[in-house]
Amino acid sequence: MSVFLAKRLATFLATLAVASLLVFAVLELLPGNVAQVMLGDTATPEAVATLEKKLGLDRPAAARYADWVGGLLQGRTADSFSYGTPTAELIAERLRVTLPLALLAMALTTVLALALGLYAAARHNRLGDVGVMALSQVGIAIPSFWFAILLILLFAVKLQWVSAGGFPGWSADDGGGLVEGLTALALPALALALVQAAMLARVTRSAVVDVMREDFVRTARAKGLTQRQALWRHVLRNAMIPVLTVMGLQFANLITGTIVIENVFVLPGIGRLVFQAIANRDLVVVRDVVMGLVAVVVVVNLVVDLLYALVDPRLKASDV
């Protein structure tokens, strides 16, 4: 187990290191003169020179990279070009919207997918199964941002139950509150979750159907367990491996989905931040946000791998 852990941690650290090199190379070296890109073609040479100095572009790339990564490790980041505040502060502020949204969407996805997947598996090849699978096939084909627009159309335009977008904030001082905040995130989370759940429900259903055919399940039934008992005691745990794999992969989709959905609902999260940064050519913000998101994806993959080991003891034994 400890060798498995050590191997996995080494891969994790190496992936983060290479990712940081790549992000730095793409956003700081590839454009040539970063200051010129940020200020645009119409900028005067003096303005470009001033920004070059401010960004430290006169120093060697290796020193700038070391500074950037060293700063990130200590929680110290450069100032945003357009906001004038450290990017860490901007990201932390926007995470107050993005993180609850992603968690809410993931929770909804898991509940919906497991419920539908188990329901379909229990009625394998019967009407309920066929219906759920047909619905999920349609769900996978629907772009989440279009589904979001349809939700706005129904709940904001036709029924006028909620506003078409925006976020009131979490505290009463901002004019919002916990209930108001959660209400504003409900439709975005639903839009994200439904499409993801469609995919996960299919995986859950086929994983459960596969495990139900195994000999040990037949043995469990033969010794008198009902189908429901066998499902809860033996099938679910074994079916979780493919489900966890897909959930890990889906988390990357969820992160990018959040960026898109925030733009549909005009939510002041990371997604809005990065798009405003692109519009302002604020490469400092783009660099740090992209690095942060990549780090989240890599961390989630690590967590999923560690969960495998918990769910499947064979991994611990075989990988040492």
Partner: protein
Amino acid sequence: MSEAAGFWRRAARHPSFLAGALLAALLVAAALLSLVWTPYPPAEIDIPNKLAAPSAAHWLGTDSLGRDIASQLLAGARSAIVVGVVAVAIGLVLGVGLGCLAAARRGWVEELVMRAADFTFAFPALLSAIMLGAIYGPGLATGIVAIGIFYIPVFARLARGAASAVWAREYVLAARAAGFGPARITWDHVLPNIAAVLIVQATISFATAILAEAALSYLGLGTQPPQPSWGRMLNEAQTQLFQAPLLAVYPGVAIALSVLGLNLLGDGLRDLLDPRLARRR
């Protein structure tokens, strides 16, 4: 009966394959038709006729600039297909090349290719598009490259897994004993034997590419005006939700039907090309 005739006989009785093939054919037909004919030039602005309801003159009505929706939908199919074909081709050629190399050479080459593939998964297409868009500006090429890069590890992993299985077969051993090199064996034996899995994956990837292109264009990172795109049509429609809600419905239906068609086609092909999988379902 020949193998091809057998395939078509089974295909004709496979409902998911037939429905998928029909929808995919409609997508291709719309794109081809738009090359030679659309009811109006898709980018033609006609302010006096803006937000017109569906009528004989404008089958699906017009948008906020008076552009004909039906014409834009037809031309949008072209953008979807261009992005899908080029992005999948990038992933297929580079990914299969790397996957076959890994399977043929094994050892450190295989380890390097597979670790690189794992690493690329940390960069979803949208993040690559954000980085490329921030430097080079948004555009069709940015979207295609970002989506294509994401597919390289997908095809590399798949090709390496399937090719490794072929390398373990007796006929490859015989070819090696006869003195054929890895390149010749890959070309003559490995590729024809893994083609089925690659075709299925390419079809499903095509569907995902259409979804990704729509999202990028919706965000302004993909296809740029005046080139019509379903994603951008949805972006523009969102500003008119209260006045013209139907504008937000048509492009979404077009995307969903195309993706549904390609996914069904992929599922159907998987059943037809790999009967072992079909039996397990």
